[in-house]
Symmetry: C2
Subunit: 206 residues, 2 copies
DNA sequence: ACAAAAATTAACTGTTTAGTTGAAATAAAT
DNA sequence: ATTTATTTCAACTAAACAGTTAATTTTTGT
């Protein structure tokens, strides 16, 4: 019977998963080395296979958990029963909090999805696609009443997602061109998190 | 003496480069296989090493040319001597044309930069950083006159870049959640290219 | 206290992939 | 025409890497 002797926080399995998550998220599936994961977790490389069988399987766990960690949280915010302005403020504020807590996930997922666009297609369709439709419908209804900017609902949603996600994906470029160090960039993100929800509402509704 | 017998378009060296560019841009450095590049170029794998010595060197050529192809074009648009509204319309319109012609470059560059953030730091600083500063200054001056939205210049610029670049990076997700096929998504991009410059001006200036 | 199960390790093997080689074909130069 | 340089290729080698094994230590149940 498998029983943890050490507390969950420092169990070998968890140390491996966390090291793997870090390495896969920064290097991608092929860029990651099993030895590097083992080193970062401070365990023998055999333990990776002992707990996760193969690189592929370990990656799959990291990949799926990365998505499951953020996607359901985010899309649920789109279908709360609120007037558009409240929903937008709520959605953007919480979305930014979630990405901020998981800043490496967007680029990681998009790179992997780019290599293999069909992977997770059904998951995306069911977990995101389905739940985005009612929000788009709400946008269209407000547009008919003349309450939104004059753009198709999909374009508005892409504007919103773009402004929230891109700074995290583009960090290495932005940090250099604005000549910021790590702390300065973190403050830039904090400033953004404070200003953006209101800006999105102002530039989307009227 | 090296002399091309076939015309430039179909020379082996060029076929290799183009195949390498496609494969590296969609799979990344480590995800790419030399054999896959050879197959796509329809040449023997040895030719890759004959012309480019190593995977690393071939990659470097592709990576640098990807940047040189787009970066100078884009930043030059920021320092033309035009009033802000004209400059913004001009910048966004042409920027979108350039990305649209090279849609795979942003994700490619950002993924590689994420793996190795210091690489190309001086290039970025000199080619982009320096040239962005005067534009930020122009934004700040207009802000003082009360002509722009009330946000720090850097945040405004990030908003603009986000809305232009993200749809290309996020294509695999967006296409699925909006349930679009390739052609429908291309039309979505075309619509965006038409609507976005004006939207950016409206949401940035006042 | 002891046996059984689980966890850990160092050394090893197998596979994949980048890179080489030497011979053959083709093109260019004399 | 014949030599010389370049280009191409199939078969090979070398290196890096994932994955295995078997022996050892630690933990757990009785």
């Amino acid at each position: 019977m498998k029983e943890e002797s050490q507390d969950e926080q420092s169990s070998t399995e968890k140390k491996i998963f966390e090291a793997a998550r870090d390495v896969f998220q920064s290097k991608g599936l092929e860029g990651a080395r099993m030895q590097e994961i083992a080193d970062k977790a401070k365990i023998n490389k055999s333990m990776l296979h002992y707990y996760y069988r193969s690189k592929e399987k370990l990656f799959e766990k990291v990949y799926q958990l990365s998505l499951i960690k953020v996607i359901p949280q985010i899309v649920s915010l789109l279908n709360e029963d609120l007037p558009l302005e409240q929903k937008l403020l709520n959605f953007t504020t919480k979305y930014l909090e979630i990405i901020r807590a998981n800043p490496d996930i967007p680029l990681f997922v998009l790179h992997e999805l780019n290599k293999n666009p069909t992977r997770l297609k059904t998951f995306m369709l069911n977990e995101v696609g389905r739940k985005v439709q009612p929000f788009l419908e709400q946008l269209r209804q407000e547009a008919q009443k003349g309450n939104t900017v004059d753009l198709p609902a999909e374009q508005i949603l892409v504007n919103i997602m773009s402004m929230m996600i891109f700074p995290f994906i583009g960090r290495p470029v932005l940090q250099v061109i604005f000549e910021m160090d790590e702390d300065e960039f973190d403050r830039f993100i904090e400033e953004r998190v404070n200003l953006l929800p209101e800006f999105i509402v102002r530039s989307t509704l009227k």
